[in-house]
């Protein structure tokens, strides 16, 4: 991590700035998943927990978006579940010979939904349904999120694509995931 720390710090600062503009989403999961996909592509999924932790810490301290109480849960959703889902699907899609753009769109949308699935599951664990237990609660939360988050996931995928293209067009920046993407 030490070798690229200035790049990592810039990515984190960038994600912070982008997410600071967005309204925090529902259910106390204060950070928007915008940036999860971008961060994963830029820095790779391995460092995303650290980046996500720092970004969320600064959101709590500098912009008063969200609180520390949900930090642990959010690091799991935004720092682990989302990035790995994005990464795996991206690799898989490219392996299957899908073009760059469709692969990124799919991966971003999937990562975004995985983030919310994770949040729903955490919420379900915290507030199980009196009758049906965790599973029923999960379905309920997931249904609420699906309605609100599906359109966001789509917009986010398109946005990620154009941002990445702008970056690649306008400079020869090589970052973990981006490097692989630019080379093909």
């Amino acid at each position: 991590m030490r070798g690229h720390r200035y790049l990592l710090a810039a990515s984190a600062g960038y994600l912070f700035t982008l997410t600071a503009l967005k309204l925090p989403s529902l259910a106390g999961s204060s950070s928007h998943p915008t940036g999860v996909a971008l961060g994963t592509v830029l820095a790779g999924p391995a460092v995303m927990p650290a980046l996500s932790l720092i970004v969320q810490l600064f959101q709590a301290l500098l912009t008063a978006h969200g609180g520390l109480s949900t930090l642990g849960a959010n690091v799991v959703a935004l720092g682990v579940a989302g990035p790995w889902a994005t990464w795996l699907l991206w690799r898989l899609a490219s392996r299957c010979g899908l073009g760059d753009k469709p692969a990124i769109v799919l991966a971003t949308a999937f990562g975004s939904m995985a983030t919310y699935a994770c949040t729903s599951f955490q919420l379900a664990l915290a507030h199980p349904e009196p009758g049906g237990g965790v599973a029923a609660a999960f379905l309920k939360f997931a249904a609420v999120f699906a309605v609100t988050q599906l359109p966001i996931a789509v917009i986010e995928s398109l946005f990620t694509i154009v941002v990445l293209r702008a970056i690649i067009n306008s400079s020869g920046i090589c970052v973990a995931g981006l490097e692989a993407w630019a080379q093909r």
């Binding site: 790049l7 984190a12 301290l61 008063a64 609420v144 990445l164």
Partner: protein, 238 residues
Amino acid sequence: MHVHAPLDHIAFSNAWRTRSPIDKMTFGGGLLLLASVLPAMPWSAAIFAAAATATLAGARIPVRAWGRFLAPQIGFLSAAALPLILGAGWERAAAVWMRGVAAAACMTLLAMTTPVPDLLLAARRARVPAVLVELAFLVYRLIVSIWELFERLRLGLDLRLRGGKPSLHAASLSAGNLLTRSIQKARRVERGASLRGLEGFPMLTPRARTSRAFLVSAVALQASLLAAAILFRSRFPW
């Protein structure tokens, strides 16, 4: 940045600026802990009152600034309570909401009285891994610059759009430019740091006064809240 990130500006200029971060964290952190363990009704209200008094009377932060930061957080918490009502029912949602508001007041107290770097220094002394703390210092340093870059690009975009709404295309071009320039900035700062021979962050500890009286009264307040909660636990069960 101070025009656009007033929270940071206030953290650097309030009446508690020179109070030791340990004092502030003991006070705010202790209350935060109580808010998450004690029954929401009525103890969250008491914790909220304590945090509000400390922020407004202690650190002498203007009510308007405080309200401006707390109000959106309460708004988010209320929005968050909606799916909870559907999923878990009224009472749980209300309890979660109250707890959230109290916790938000504690966090706001901490965020408005302690600059982020002071907290990071405290974290380093508390043996949080150096790699993480150093990265956080760098992120803070770069956020300041990137935020300024963002403001400038937003103005530039606004001028180009001539009053119209940004299309997805224009917005993402602008976002791409922001990332490119953020990374260029990071490279320049990296060079600046290497010019000065800096690898880590050998940081001067800010002069801060630790007050035993403050610490004692903070702990006493928290202890009495806890004692009251235990005493009245038949009326307000956990």
